[in-house]
């Protein structure tokens, strides 16, 4: 951070927002810092550290089984919190972001707002229909909050769709309903590598038939993609090997993939097919145990 001139550690959210407002374009909020500290951007002159403003709690949300996760909760805190519960896409992802050490840095809010192609939690948020709590400090000093569904939040890059002065303060993740199961898997070349492809799936089984499905892929292009055709193709079907394989093939056709030096488009498409099938299979086995 070549031009960094000041770092503030406010004790309240209101104070943090005042500081951000005061310094405007030159200031950035600091969460886990994994992307910001490595930033060589000369524009960032002021950092406002959010680690002491009370955004690090995990609470019960309004819906059944829903969790309200403070934006500054780290992946390791989330992983430990979820360890005692049945596995879901959220627990899979919290335990697979980067490495164990990185999970002590990366925050839930930071991972979603600063989404990279390979980020895990945004993929999960889309699959589980999470929502984002966004707070803005109005000019008169009154706070305004809005809630944004993950679909809208990730329709463009969140750093551009958040208005000036707005901060993500929490994410809300609905609990698994009856008959529901979810899973998140990714493919990396080694344990701590950035994913080449990932998938998050939530399915609902009712009397042996798929009633609901959300299949999301990540890491194959800039932002995670909800595969609507693939998801709908499963509705009313029995979750047998043939139907899963057909859905996986469709995912390979539906997902838009990019090529880079790590993987060609053809290879990524093949990864999508494989990982969607594996993730569907895992989510379905969890749904089967939750009826």
């Amino acid at each position: 951070m070549p031009e960094l001139k000041a770092l503030y550690q406010p004790g309240t959210l209101a104070e943090a927002q005042s500081l951000l407002e005061e310094h405007g374009e030159r200031a950035r909020p600091l969460a886990g810092g994994t992307s910001l500290v490595l930033s060589k951007s000369a524009k960032v002159e002021v950092l406002v550290d959010l680690s002491r403003v009370g955004l690090d709690r995990i609470e019960d949300g309004p819906g059944p089984g829903e969790l309200r996760i403070g934006a500054m909760v780290t992946c390791s805190a989330l992983r430990r919190f979820l360890a005692a519960r049945p596995p879901t896409a959220l627990s899979d992802a919290a335990g697979s972001v980067g490495s164990r050490v990185l999970q002590n840095h990366v925050t839930v809010g930071g991972n979603c707002v600063m989404v990279y192609a390979w980020s895990d939690l945004p993929v999960v948020m889309l699959a589980l229909e999470g929502t984002f709590e966004i707070q803005r400090r109005a000019a008169a000093g009154e706070d305004t909050r809005r809630s944004l569904a993950a679909d809208a939040f990730f329709s463009g890059h969140p750093t551009r769709s958040l208005a000036e002065g707005e901060l993500v303060v929490a994410v809300n993740v609905p609990g698994p309903g009856s008959g529901q199961g979810s899973a998140h898997l990714k493919f990396c070349r080694n344990a701590a590598d950035q994913a080449l492809a990932s998938a998050s799936v939530r399915v609902e089984l009712d009397q042996g038939v798929v009633r609901q499905a959300r299949v999301v892929v990540g890491a194959v292009r800039g932002l995670p993609q909800l595969l609507s055709e693939t998801s709908d193709s499963l509705l009313g079907k029995e979750p047998d090997a043939q139907n899963l394989s057909m859905a996986a093939d469709l995912a390979g056709r539906e997902a838009k993939v990019s090529a880079d030096f790590k993987a060609s488009a053809e290879y990524r498409t093949q990864l999508v097919t494989t990982i969607v099938e594996d993730t569907l299979s895992l989510a379905l086995s969890r749904a089967g145990g939750n009826q």
């Binding site: 070549p2 550690q9 600091l30 810092g33 050490v101 990185l102 840095h105």
Partner: protein, 170 residues
Amino acid sequence: MSKLSLTINGAPRELEVEPGDTLLDTLRELGYHGVKRGCEAGTCGSCVVLVDGEPRFSCILLSATLAGASVTTVEGLGSPERPHPIMQAFAEEAGVQCGYCVPGMVLSTKALLEEVERPTEHEVKEALDAHLCRCTGYVKQIKAVLRAADLVANVDGGVGGGATTKKEVG
């Protein structure tokens, strides 16, 4: 420059830091050369230290955010004359070749054994997944961590051979 109060290896310190100083820079300037400079991108694990007991990459942590924190470097664990049981295990199991990655691994091991008294091999691999070693191929280091668990349990007066137990962690 701003003032920073924190604890390093148990000793209270008053420092002056620039807002952009990383903990890696701060510690090395103070002479804690067990903290190694590697990728400087939060990937290789050679700069790992414990902050309030948690392994963190000191290369991507800004010192100015650490007011009141307790930092432990490998120097805080032991010395060549009085090695910590984890250090002893790494030496005995030949988990050290060039040694550059080892201080970080020793500290991640310390955090692991605080959380899990008798880790499984899988838990050891997970705990070390942030640490790149280009010499050993990891096999001896995994053995070293398992041996360290034995040694630490004996030092602490714990009973050996038990199932994995989890302690409360914050």
